[in-house]
């Protein structure tokens, strides 16, 4: 393994393990927080209009947090590595925690909006139409120049203060900024599993793979474009 690959692995492996634990929690008993297979809604085979409405906000928040950890932690390797590489050794743990707090804070706020949107869609008089409209909005955002602006900002990392309160603020700010650009590029994809109560976990897995693949692509000029992240597929082909 090259020295650089070793440095990357030092961060990727712990993040991957924590993500795997979150997946296990979601697939296991805790997964009942998010999908309603255990509810008997046989008449509406594909869409269950009620599961979110049934769940208390605390449960929803926990479920959203688990989703976040499961799906997003693997793509946080680069900013986590940056904050650890560029902080004094005595501050690394603290800086990492501050980054993650900043990042999660932004996503938890986004979670409120996402859950509210999914709830509204599912409880509307025309849930199918409402869900379709939300899905259409997600697709429009996916191909928009603004999505590319957000994706571009996720590459490369700014300088960080090394001392005192400034260092703490910079780490948290990096996390929050990364969260903001991440929300900007991924909000639609993260919303999709919320719209569909059944098949929630497979959809989460697909979305995770898509998000991971997207962040591998190079920055590009923002424009309207169908962005299919093929680089990940090329890597898989090259490796097999």
């Amino acid at each position: 393994m090259t020295p650089a690959a070793r440095e990357r692995a030092r961060v990727r492996i712990p993040l991957g393990l924590v993500s795997a634990c979150a997946w296990a929690a979601l697939i296991g008993p805790g997964g009942n927080l998010l999908h309603a297979e255990h509810h008997a809604h046989h008449a509406h085979a594909r869409l269950d209009p009620t599961p979110l409405a049934d769940l208390p906000w605390g449960t929803l928040a926990l479920g959203w947090a688990l989703m976040l950890v499961a799906m997003m932690l693997p793509v946080l390797a680069a900013p986590v590595r940056h904050v650890r590489d560029r902080s004094f050794a005595s501050r690394r743990g603290r800086a990492t925690a501050e980054l993650l707090v900043g990042y999660c804070a932004v996503w938890m706020l986004a979670g409120v909006a996402s859950i509210a949107a999914a709830h509204a869609a599912q409880t509307s008089p025309e849930p199918l139409l409402a869900t379709g409209l939300v899905a259409a909005l997600v697709i429009v955002w996916q191909v928009s120049p603004l999505k590319q602006v957000c994706l571009n900002r996720l590459h490369g990392h700014p300088p960080l203060a090394a001392f005192g309160i400034a260092a703490d603020l910079h780490a948290a700010r990096l996390g929050a900024a990364h969260g903001l650009w991440c929300v900007g590029s991924c909000w639609g994809l993260m919303l999709l599993p919320m719209l569909f109560a059944s098949g929630h976990l497979p959809m989460m897995a697909l979305v995770s793979a898509w998000i991971w693949a997207e962040q591998l692509e190079r920055p590009a000029r923002p424009r309207w474009a169908l962005r299919i992240p093929l680089k990940a597929a090329r890597i898989v082909v090259a490796r097999t």
């Binding site: 020295p3 650089a4 990357r8 590459h155 960080l160 090394a162 591998l216 920055p219 090259a238």
Partner: protein, 506 residues
């Protein structure tokens, strides 16, 4: 077998290899840009900026462009900021040489014509080879294709030479081909950037002398907002001296490999198989017979199998620049890192030990900054009798992080620990190294591959560190930046943070 020879040792200013090169360049320049074996197509393989090319008269939007398929396959392919830098440029130079050779043969020239190289480190050879400095052919006729007006030199006055105090061969003493981008050595050949195409940190040979020669030859001028052709990655391939410079860089790779023979190219499959192994475009060059040569780094490590050689790959030393009091240490002096077995050298970790408290704008002729050392570093230094921080086998680097700007032509020397009242040019012993901003403009754009955060430069100061007496200095280290030419505020050059890192055993 073609032998690449020193351009200054061919016998005369217009010796046959140079004359045939000029004729070959003229032939390629006569071909339309849509032809893959044309001059401009080959330059665009390195990089192209349509607006700048148009302004300089290298592109006319009314002329037919190459097909989208050709552009997608070949253009903007330059590998920089990664461990693919050297093998890609080897293949690029080899394919270009074959293309010129084919043109030379068509014109009645020798079938074993080879590209000369410019070894600016050799005594008396740091000036621009005369055939490139003259607007005329040897018979006095104008339109010498080896001459370009957009070559401004270190002082911006058109006098092109490499100031020897601005370049060094320190990279040749790095024992490892690949390194890290976390603040320690990026390695002789550059960083394994994983799935990313190119990173913020250039390898040691890429940084010095490669980037420096680009910046010093291209230079900048009041009339040229984009700098000379060689200063900008998107125009560098248009200057015929580019190829002699890269032949030398390629030769220095071979020098490193052979001196000593314990210097090894990577064996990791991701290097051997090239960027296609990490989902990027495969390395591909158009050949004179109309075919496409696709290659991997693993296929370009052996010069014999590639069918060429150099007349001289002996260990390089850098002579003292004439008339200067100080002398840079010769590259044959081995750094502490070179003493370590390679296996142990691979297992090192990098730690931040000092940083500036804010960004450093680089404006004018003398920029001063201060790096504050960590409490631990100060304590360790003050605990010793000498008031120095004992390194053992560790290495120390100064990092100029997130260097951004709108000019690739800017370049400056970096001094660490120089007393405030001292004149930098009288104290080369405090010179950490030199930074040329080749590629910084592009790296500062949000739509380009670095997301707009600029480049990070790493200079080794291991030899300098014991003399700095960091404990006695109250924990602050002065850093002085001395531009080759005063940097205008309009160039918007800034350094996000200056830091000191220590790379030691795990």
């Amino acid at each position: 077998m073609p032998v690449r020879r020193n351009v200054w040792e061919l016998g005369s200013d217009w010796a046959d290899p140079i004359l045939w090169y000029a004729r070959g360049v003229a032939a390629l320049q006569a071909r339309p840009i849509r032809e893959p074996t044309s001059w401009r197509f080959y330059a665009a393989i390195h990089g192209i900026h349509p607006e700048i090319w148009q302004q300089l008269g290298y592109l006319d939007l009314s002329e037919p462009a190459p097909s989208r398929d050709l552009i997608r396959r070949f253009w903007q392919q330059c590998q920089h900021g990664s461990w693919y830098f050297l093998p890609w440029h080897r293949g690029y130079t080899l394919a270009f040489e074959a293309t010129v050779r084919a043109a030379v043969v068509q014109l009645g020239g020798p079938a074993d014509w080879a590209l000369p190289y410019w070894n600016y480190f050799k005594t008396g050879q740091n000036g621009l080879p005369p055939a490139f400095a003259s607007a005329d052919w040897p018979d006095g006729q104008g339109n010498n294709p080896l001459f370009v007006p957009q070559r401004y030199g270190p002082s911006g006055d058109g006098n092109v030479f490499i100031p020897l105090e601005a370049v060094n061969l320190d990279a040749l003493s790095d024992p490892d081909f690949t390194g890290v981008d976390s603040g320690g050595s990026p390695g002789f050949g550059g960083v394994d950037t994983g799935f990313s195409h190119g990173g913020q940190v250039h390898g040691r040979l890429e940084t010095q002398p490669h980037d420096w020669v680009h910046g010093l030859v291209g230079g900048a001028s009041e009339d040229a907002p984009f700098g000379g052709l060689m200063s900008n990655p998107d125009t560098a391939g248009l200057d015929p001296i580019f190829w002699l410079h890269h032949a030398n860089i390629d030769r220095l790779w071979q020098v490193w490999r052979e001196n000593p023979a314990t210097h090894l190219d990577p064996t990791d499959p991701r290097w051997l198989d090239g960027p296609a192994a990490v989902g990027e475009r495969e390395l591909a060059m158009p050949m004179p017979d109309g075919t496409t040569w696709t290659f991997t780094p693993g296929q370009v490590t052996n010069l014999v199998s590639l069918g060429y050689s150099y007349d001289d790959v002996s260990p390089q030393t850098l002579e003292a620049a004439p008339g200067r009091g100080g002398q840079r240490l010769a590259a044959t002096v081995r750094s502490p890192a070179a003493e370590r077995p390679t296996a142990m050298a691979a297992r090192r970790s990098t730690h931040l030990i000092g940083a500036s408290r804010g960004a450093v704008p680089v404006i004018g002729a003398d920029v001063r900054a201060s790096v504050e050392l960590s409490a631990e570093t100060r304590q360790r230094a003050s605990a010793t009798l000498l008031g120095s921080d004992p390194l053992g086998h560790d290495r120390v680097f100064v990092n100029l992080e997130n260097v951004r700007g709108s000019s690739d032509a800017a370049a400056f020397r970096v001094y660490v620990g120089l007393p405030a009242s001292a004149r930098p040019d009288e104290h080369p012993e405090y010179l950490a190294g030199n930074i040329a901003l080749f590629g910084v403009r592009k790296a500062s754009l949000p739509t380009e591959e670095h997301g707009g955060v600029g480049l990070t430069f790493v200079l080794e100061i291991t030899k300098l560190w014991p003399t700095l007496h960091v404990g006695a200095g109250g924990g602050q280290l002065d850093v002085r930046l001395v531009p080759v030419k005063p940097i205008d505020a309009r160039a918007q050059v800034s350094i996000g943070r200056i830091s000191i890192t220590r790379q030691g055993s795990e």
